[in-house]
Amino acid sequence: MTVGVVVDMMLGLALVALSLRVVTGGSLFRDIVLFILFGLLVALSWARLGAPDLALAEAAIGAGLTGALMLMAYRSIGADTEERPVRRRPGVALVVAVLTGSLVAVIGLAALGIERVPDAAGDAVLEALPGTGLGNAVTGVLLVFRGLDTMLEMAVLLVALLGAWTVLGDARPGRVHRVDRRTPLVGSLLTVVAPITLLVAVHLLLAGTDAPGGAFQAGAVLTGCGVLMVLTGTLRPTAVAGFATRLLVVAGLAAFVLVGAGAGFVGHAPMTLTGTWAVYLIETAMMLSIALTMTLLFARARGLRGEGS
């Protein structure tokens, strides 16, 4: 047994212990924080499994963004709505949980034992990748080989935002507790961290074609910047979506459709990306759409405006 497998076992045990705590614990606030920790450990697991793209996405989206959304919702429904003690019998649920968990284990272990087919889609991707001009196989799948999936994923994000806007009704945008920015710590946090997140986001976007990273990770990091600006009052939630906001939230989907349809007009098969310029264009639009959509979902607002305006 190597040191690596011991690390894996410790990580696995920690994941199981944390998940049990998250689903059964008594204090919702503490369990949301533990869930964020759980997400970070899942990110470590992705790194151990050799998937750095997923590790980045999990840390930024799975742990960071989901956690921020949960904490924000926790704030607005109020801490006084703590759940009542469970009254139904947990015995049946335990049996169901053990059975479904065992089912997952049996399926997983059985699948691990199966010999990998020689012409799996993943191998075909690695073979065709040099022809796309991309170095990162995951970006290749997302943008070139399975671009339709990613396009529809942007549609799902848009629908989630439209759904949240509908549910928002006539309610005023979620009130955000703002910290006093004149305190030295918050002021310097904003002036130092915000530009750095912007830099990291753009780096992840550009590096994503050849190295781990890409539009989703970049968009999530940019959302982090947006969340920081909402929390410090630099950006204020509004109840009306302006033209620029509407344009930006559909930009990712629109770029995909326009480039894809354009390829059809100039003689390629529809939805072909004819060069790396198309990948950069679509990924930039996706990053902006993801960041704005998620920031709006976080602030429960239809629009954002700068402090002075």
Partner: protein, 103 residues
């Protein structure tokens, strides 16, 4: 015991914990936490069972899981918006009526 086997077993236990939480929890936000825990377990299982290429885990499986992570956060955000509205309208954080305490 290989790395993949460890993670499949851990993910199974985590999935079971998620199912338990989804059934037992009263508070809708805790049900959402349980759902997110379950989806993480599914993602880990998906990637490990897809097998590996010489350059790491199968890139198609990685892209699928990456898509899944983003869809999961979008669905969670929408569910939280529904939950906040539910609390505004009814003052309840669970789906049971106020007088329905037992069973």
């Amino acid at each position: 015991m290989s790395t993949e086997v460890v993670y499949v077993l851990a993910a199974s236990a985590v999935f079971g914990a998620g199912v338990y939480g989804l059934i037992v929890a009263n508070h809708l936000m805790r049900k959402l936490l349980a759902l997110n825990v379950m989806s993480s377990a599914v993602f880990v299982t998906m990637l490990t069972v897809a097998g590996t290429t010489p350059e790491g885990p199968d890139p198609v499986a990685q892209a699928l899981v990456l898509t899944g992570i983003v869809i999961a956060v979008a669905a969670t955000a929408f569910a939280l918006a529904l939950l906040v509205r539910l609390v505004q309208e009814t003052g309840l954080v669970s789906l049971r009526a106020k007088d329905d305490d037992g069973a």
